[in-house]
């Protein structure tokens, strides 16, 4: 099953690397231009569920890595059945100085809150997302707080440390 999928992928997409670290889990690394087509390919193969969309800040490589985890609800019943019980991890790197990517809402509608979250916490813009409004955070931050160059310790000292304690001299 995995071998067949691997052959099919390498025939369809250029420069795709398919590895499998564990049973039932396949990691596909692809360049960002082909990611949307790859996700459509998997959706057509029965991977109908986007389990997670996340981002990793690879500051040493000057890139953000977007991670899509896809699964299928269909059961693995026969040889030509859709690949149930398989977990697909699709990774693609986008440049850190131009953090923009296409929204996958029209492929997986449940990506909407994930993309809002990543936009808020990593500052990655998703083209085609209609509602990139704040989701969790209450305060304004100098840079998005999940980026690796966000100095939490200094931020805490500057913001929460500067709030004075309530003393007897005040009133």
């Amino acid at each position: 099953m995995i071998e067949q999928l691997k052959r099919e992928l390498e025939a369809t997409f250029k420069g795709v690397s398919v590895t499998s670290e564990a049973d039932r889990r396949i990691t596909v690394v692809v360049d960002p231009l082909q990611t949307i087509a790859l996700l459509r390919f998997f959706k057509d193969r029965g991977f109908s569920h986007l389990a997670l969309l996340s981002a990793v800040d690879l500051i040493d490589k000057h890139a953000f890595e977007l991670v899509y985890i896809l699964t299928s609800y269909a059961e693995d019943t026969g040889e030509d059945a859709v690949p149930g019980e398989l977990i697909l991890v699709v990774k693609s790197m986008i440049p850190r100085d131009k953090p923009t990517f296409k929204s996958v809402i029209n492929i997986y509608p449940n990506a909407e809150p994930y993309e809002r979250e990543i936009h808020e916490l990593f500052g990655i813009h998703f083209d085609g997302h209609r509602r990139l409004t704040p989701l969790f955070l209450e305060r304004q931050y100098p840079i998005p707080p999940f980026r690796k160059d966000f100095d939490t310790r200094r931020y805490v000292e500057d913001v929460f440390g500067s709030i004075p304690a309530i003393g007897d001299e005040e009133g």
Binding site: E138, F160, P164, E170, G171
Partner: protein, 191 residues
């Protein structure tokens, strides 16, 4: 009832009544709420100490903040505290409300809760055992006896400073001040 306390009952009946019937509102902010169900149910039975959970802040006079306080929950904590009737006692449970605990360098967690609302008692630990709640309750009795559990009076007295700190942390607040900010009330008197 302890016979030694009969004199106290005659002297300050309202204080004694408050002391032995603490109606607690549990603010389930973090992991500390795990300790609360065994406390209020048969295993440890908080009602032995006169502590009973209530549904809304308007019925409560003990505010138990269990766990870390994020910026967003601070807003709810302030509103809850301001809705409670006086006399009201706030107890912070766990090390996170004291100084941030394991979230001491988190970008989104309030570090010192007593900068925003007055706290009458602290229960240290991560997590404290349910017995610690009872130690805190009995300690709170002593504080109420001595008139030292006066967080609500401090809140009134220093309301301007509390409100300023709340606005520093949360930006502009959506609700009007609980007490008039313009004038300065003297010496913690309350009516």
């Amino acid at each position: 009832m302890d016979r030694n306390q009969i004199a106290k009952w005659f002297k300050e009946p309202s204080k004694m009544a408050n002391k032995y019937s603490l109606h607690a509102i549990y603010f389930c902010t973090g992991c500390g709420i795990i300790e609360v169900p065994p406390v209020i149910t048969a295993r440890w039975d908080a009602e032995r100490f006169g502590v009973i959970p209530v549904a809304t802040p308007r019925q409560a006079n003990l505010f138990l903040i269990t766990g870390y306080v994020s910026v967003k929950t601070l807003k709810a904590i302030i509103r809850t505290y301001e809705q409670m009737y006086e006399p009201k006692y706030a107890v912070a449970f766990g090390s996170c409300p004291i100084n941030g605990g394991m979230y001491w360098d988190s970008y989104n967690t309030i570090k010192h809760l007593d900068k925003y609302i007055p706290i009458d008692g602290w229960i240290a630990g991560c997590m404290p055992r349910p017995e610690a709640i009872f130690v805190a309750v009995t300690h709170l009795w002593t504080l109420i006896d001595k008139g030292m559990a006066n967080g609500y009076e401090r809140y009134k007295k220093y309301y301007r400073a509390y409100r300023r700190n709340q606005e520093l942390a949360l930006g502009k607040l959506e609700w009007p001040p609980l007490y008039p900010i313009g004038e300065h009330t003297e010496g913690g008197e309350c009516d």
